[in-house]
Symmetry: D3
Subunit: 256 residues, 6 copies
């Protein structure tokens, strides 16, 4: 089965910088292959991307060798298994708040006897390889989102779930759940502490910690703290930032 | 009929900074509304965008008040008239090399008696307004691309075509046609001279000159020279630049 | 945050006439903007519309200022939250039969602390405005469908759910559940009584009552009874009625 | 080969009432099968419908036995032949202004030796039948649009083109070309005369005359005059008329 | 209501050969109508097909008179009811492991009082007929997938569920659940025994037994054993087999 | 620039077996990668495939290293250049009947000074490589279809066109043009002679000869005669053949 390069990086304790694809366009995804991302995640929760676009994005990105993940919109076996059949090498699952949630999530990603995933990995086989059945359970990544006060309270129960590879912090939802405004880089001490609590727990349970970052700088700092899967914003926001930079350069000359 | 803000800007001798949409995604187009562009052009020539995506992009961008244009793939009445019926407020037409080309182009954009456009402006009416028939001929912009040696030789014949609003320089094709490599900011003197030849002719014929630029800086400089419709690269390239900036910032911290 | 004009109408005790969009076409949706509806609801339950079409319909309808709602196919957080992230200003949720159902529904539409909606309102922010986080909970409408005998029995428990804005009667399902044929304007006394029971309860609990109507006349009568959100059939049926009228007029002359 | 019911009707001198499909939706097309149209034409010129939608509309409408036609956006063999391969039983071609135009149009619809259509009728075979090669030339309808002053002047040369089945009047473009505002039912005498000129010529040359009508009443009157293929507006407009009727009925009761 | 030919075949104890559509293409579906299948099932679980393609496939296949089914991705009322509203004449539901699962599944396919399906059968009415409400409960097929050890243990409880029409063996998942590799024709005795157990139970409970087969030969043998709904692989695999045959024939001559 | 493996094969005088993709599905295209084709051609002339599907098929097939070609619907620069910008490594152009046709075709595929192709190879650069500008003219294949009596008469003028890489016989159209029924393997002597005439001319002019074949056997025989680019039917027909084989095997056992 084709290597999951995230696992290789993590084995070497290297932090991955993850691209967040939130446009419904295989052309946009293909263009993003020109930047030096370590992995690509298609967001199906908040991005408004439809299934067909997500599929063609996976097909397009399969030209490269970077791991492809999908964030599903909710803890739902239909979404999770379709994402995996489409060739995703990992699932980011939102709102994992309890041990039961986490077991249901991990089980949906694993074939029996350790899980209840149904067989039929169309792109899994063509992208992953003919030994997919024997290697999928160990190759596919399961990343549970920790983003509520309830999850924070259950952090040990969640992180000790057998088969869980990592967790992924959703800073905005976590802040809201703790009673603050949505925020990336913590502005409130309780949020900052929650980051530490989660990161410490992840180290303790030997699962990878990932986090959604609001800037390249935050991704750098979080990597230095020990996060090993740092997303920087999303493709649409990066596009607008690129546009603003170019427009600024132009207007500086015009007005200068 | 809804104002064409490019005409207003040009009447005040202001240079417009134009966004080049080359992703097949109404989500990407909508995201780009957050940047301060003066106009949006959907490229149907080189972008690989399909018709349905272009339509939904026009519908989405119609939430705003910036003029929407389309570059058609070739001098073809089917493409030109469909673009206009879809609500485009201007057409950029590639490879206008002769006076005949230019007359055929302009005629396809105008109702009789000055042209041969066929009636049926579905979105023209809903976006433009009920007086579309009476105002369309004067509101819709016709921009002929000057991008070959032949066009350069016919520059006066082309630019004096009645009903032509402006020209648009395609620097890459122009350079190739003159015997050089594709290039934005002229590296070869003959290309630089061609820019001046075209700009001078545009001023002489009182048509607007536009140009496709390879950076914000080039757009600034070309505006200062007198170009009044400067595109900066395209959405995909700006997205990659934004990604590279963010990745650079992250890696600087990680490696620094 | 952009005003929700339904809330304004209801504050003035005005009844809204709601358009039911059930074609998978942003062109059809845009055409419907020419009629004088007070709001537009995209049906994702019975209409067969796909997600991508629903998204482009929302983008297209965002040119206007009428509130846009979505009926989701089932009480499912994935559907509800995606609809809201796509800019819907209200959710109609089918088959709310118990207080638990209703709490799960309302919670999915509200950010913490009053609900469990996840943050990431892409079009919510661009359509609604930058204060979306602070205003969404009070602006987004939650309309629970009352359409079974069980719901009828639980009508007080359902309608007293904190955060519920209104209910929406599904006359066909209600009639079936009561043992009759599908019907709009009640043909059976028990169905008619159920309408009254629901409407009275809505008034008692100070939530808005809406209903799906089988004709303009029914919408008029239901509005007079006190329903404040009356849908008239759906776009496809209105199209066929328009076609039948035109065909009738033609054949009358031809045969007359 | 499956019967072309328009040919049968015309052989019996019956006038057909034609549905104009201008929404990009197979659901809308399927809904329209509930109305009693004699034929269905998908408009690819002014409607903004994309190719894939047109294809699925043809597939959907093939459940019924009414002839399916397509109006192509321009006299272009690529469009015409793709429409026919997709199973269209007739082509309406805009802007046929000269005998040369008309020969190019008809030739694109006919296999050698009478035309230059290329073989590969995917849906022609599955929808039409295995004898498609031998019957297509006589079954497929060719309808040339007469909608300019030039066409009016060439009316005999155009209508005498071998293989031409009929002509189709575009009243709006014809009026514009004659110097008037777009109009359906002639408001200007010269336009009304043009209708008569065309209809007389069609009778003289034994080709069917069709016309696009602005109402059911106009379609009735034109049928009585001798037009045998009368379109009534388009699906979007009929939908809005149906909506306006229903809204009017509702508001009458509410306000009455 | 249009006849469900599978029910007719089964009443005559005939075994149906079922086509498994797993390409997202109405063209592919239409092409498959040229082969002599007894029914067509669109797979939404493992196939990666999107909803819109599934809809247009159903519309396209409705030209013929063979029953159309859909396999939903999971036991989820939203998926099941949308499939039925789209005109499916039967649902294959994966992973039915308990009596509760089976009751939830069957209930989602039936209108009250025997189930909780919601009314709004858009294509059900147009494809099935105006008496859909009265006939749907008896016409629509419910096929529960038996594909885990748990299901095997609950086989009597599942198969005795009122309203269940049949079961469908998923050999790959069943083998995995029993601790073996995925396999079609049983290689392990325990899997072969499980087939017999299921088939015997189906006969005992008077429900139809179906099974997914890995070849035409297996479908033949399983039919002889008593299975009455045998699928042969899927469209993509059959296409590759056809390609391999043709390539082999060519290379034999070239190399021979 | 990535190697064009067809050129390599032809330099070694090996005959290529070409896959003809005529389903609008990237899933179908990806499945076909499992068969041992030497190249893949997407048909845009007779297949009814839409542009967006063609693009995603190219993106998907770019995972492999087999050359990807497109048959355009007509000699039209818009279609040809878009196909090349999308990464096609060769164009099959129908109905090249004269030297002028052929020069226009080849010119559209080549950058100046030898052609008039416009610059903007989005996928050309990402798929082909950064030296695309310098290598494209020699890497991209131009294959002119010879399929009419006129083309047969102009065979030397056509084949001697500078920059033409090969010709492609359309047997059905050629037979029709010569006055016979559509046919693959020649049934009429004049058609068989035409094949020889064309093949001889191709050898004389040192261009590759390709042909569309009706079976694997025909492809084998034509390769032995000297054709170097033999297509076998199309994906849909191969799928139906695979289905018929499987159904036959099943029914043999059932009935045997």
């Amino acid at each position: 089965m084709r290597e999951n390069k995230l696992k290789t990086m993590w084995a070497e304790d290297k932090g991955a910088l993850n691209c967040w694809l939130n446009m419904d366009s295989s052309l946009a995804a293909e263009a993003m292959m020109a930047a030096d991302w370590d992995s690509y995640t298609i967001d199906m929760q908040h991005s408004l991307v439809d299934w067909h676009s997500a599929l063609t994005m996976l097909q397009t990105l399969s030209q490269g060798d970077k791991p492809l993940l999908m964030r599903v919109p909710w803890l739902d076996p239909a979404w999770i298994m379709r994402a995996l059949d489409a060739g995703a090498y990992g699932i980011v699952c939102p709102m994992i708040n309890t041990r039961d949630d986490c077991e249901a999530f991990v089980g949906a990603c694993r074939y029996a006897p350790v899980g209840y995933r149904s067989w039929g990995p169309v792109r899994g086989l063509s992208y992953g390889g003919p030994d997919y059945f024997h290697k999928a359970n160990e190759t596919i990544l399961t990343l549970a989102m920790i983003e509520t006060r309830e999850a924070l309270e259950n952090v040990d129960a969640i992180m000790s779930t057998p088969g869980l590879d990592g967790i992924y912090v959703g800073p905005n939802d976590l802040a809201i759940s703790l009673g603050y405004e949505p925020q990336y880089m913590p502005k409130d001490a309780e949020v900052a502490e929650a980051f530490d609590t989660i990161l410490d727990a992840a180290k303790r349970h030997n699962v990878v910690a990932g986090i959604h970052c609001g800037s390249g700088e935050m991704a750098g700092e979080m990597t230095k703290k020990g996060f090993r899967f740092c997303t920087i914003l999303g493709a649409t926001r990066l596009m607008v930032m690129g546009a603003n930079d170019a427009l600024g350069a132009a207007r500086n000359i015009i007005n200068g």
